[in-house]
């Protein structure tokens, strides 16, 4: 996390602690898209994600007076979001309804998307939307903790150190979970490639 963003967050947090609710609104606007991606890829459901995000910000607003700045606001709010989502997933169990099929139309112009579909790879050979669907299913077969690490590292692009701070585990644990999760995903997707209709 870069320093100007951290200092901007610090200022907004200080203003919120002093009673300026509009400063917290700015934090909500700033972090909603990023946290949405995090929670959504862990729950695979829009409605659950919406409810969870509302609860995350509500909890953060109540607790912000006690925030002493030992970690950055970025780490703090991500910790709240991940912990609340993991608790929610434990309560929900395996009863989930996937809604991970709403790919934005802007993806068609994305460089990575074009690369993925143009180069010779299993991605090109398979139908991409079907592959994505399978990938989402594979993600949901991971344990909640592994899925959290995969989401933060691969989808959100966080470094190992940041993930370890958010999850309050060692970097070694993060790497280990990531390795195990990759193997599992690889296994599920290979199975799909060999048996596309299954």
């Amino acid at each position: 996390m870069d320093k100007p963003r951290a200092s901007e967050d610090q200022e907004l947090v200080a203003r919120t602690q002093a009673g300026d609710a509009t400063a917290f609104d700015q934090l909500v606007v700033k972090y909603t898209p990023r946290l949405y991606g995090l929670v959504y890829n862990m729950t695979s459901n829009h409605e659950d994600t919406n409810d969870l995000l509302q609860d995350v910000f509500s909890k953060a607003y109540k607790a912000i007076r006690g925030f002493r700045g030992k970690s950055s606001f970025y780490t703090w709010i991500h910790s709240i979001a991940v912990n609340m989502t993991l608790n929610f997933l434990k309560k929900r169990g395996r009863r989930y309804q996937m809604s991970l099929d709403d790919v934005d139309v802007s993806i068609q112009n994305d460089k990575e998307f074009l690369e993925a579909t143009a180069t010779s790879s299993p991605v090109r050979e398979a139908d991409l939307s079907e592959l994505q669907k399978r990938l989402n299913e594979a993600m949901m077969k991971l344990s909640d903790e592994h899925r959290a690490v995969v989401t933060m590292f691969h989808i959100q692009g966080m470094p190992h150190a940041e993930i370890s701070k958010i999850l309050r585990v060692s970097e070694g644990t993060v790497r280990s979970r990531l390795f195990y999760a990759n193997r599992q995903l690889q296994s599920y997707l290979d199975e799909f490639r060999k048996n596309p209709v299954s």
């Binding site: 009673g19 609104d25 909500v28 606007v29 909603t32 898209p33 949405y36 991606g37 959504y40 890829n41 829009h46 994600t49 919406n50 995000l53 509302q54 910000f57 509500s58 607003y61 007076r65 991970l100 099929d101 709403d102 790919v103 934005d104 802007s106 993806i107 994305d110 990575e112 998307f113 690369e115 993925a116 010779s120 790879s121 299993p122 991605v123 592959l131 994505q132 990938l135 989402n136 995969v150 691969h154 989808i155 692009g157 990759n182 995903l185 690889q186 997707l189 290979d190 490639r193």
Partner: protein, 172 residues
């Protein structure tokens, strides 16, 4: 290359960044957040709201910082002590003063005198209400008038054992 390697999986997973909520979701999120906050506030009992406001007020005062100055604390304590002493010593204005003098009629009565210029001189540490035996003979006869004011005496307010309004008129 027939197998998914880590790089391919990472690429596929990065595509998931494009999975978006319904259009307008982020624009309405803050509005929804405010609405839920209001609803939550309305669901709280009144005592909880008062407690929260009192807590916020105390936090605003920053009491730990204030109590870290011994001189300020000592000054507050001295002021509180002086004020409480003053309040304890000051008599209540217009309060009843008992007078242990015989009444005009010579009968034993308990008389309350309206406070006048000489009231301060009559202050005593003795209990204002003397303990005495109730004398049944001091009761006023029903036919006796309750009028006690004469031109030579200051106005007195006599607490009779039988209120005037309860006197029988014997008019048939």
């Amino acid at each position: 290359m027939d197998e998914f390697n880590d790089n391919e999986i990472a690429k596929l997973l990065r595509l998931k960044r494009y999975e978006q909520p319904p259009p307008g979701y982020f624009e309405n999120f803050l509005h929804e957040f405010h609405r839920r906050q209001r609803d939550e506030l309305l669901r709280q009992p009144l005592w909880r709201i008062c407690l929260d406001r009192a807590h916020d007020f105390m936090v605003g005062l920053n009491l730990p910082a204030v109590t870290s100055h011994p001189a300020a604390v000592a000054a507050v304590l001295v002021c509180a002590a002086v004020i409480s002493l003053k309040v304890y010593r000051t008599p209540a204005p217009g309060g009843p003063v008992a007078e242990d003098r015989p009444a005009l009629t010579g009968q034993t009565r308990q008389v309350f005198v309206a406070p006048g210029p000489s009231a301060d001189a009559e202050w005593t540490l003795a209990s204002p209400v003397a303990t005495r035996f109730f004398n049944a003979s001091s009761l006023r006869h029903p036919t006796e008038s309750a009028f006690t004011h004469t031109s030579a005496m200051p106005p007195r307010y006599v607490l009779d054992s039988v209120p005037v309004s309860y006197e029988t008129t014997f008019k048939f």
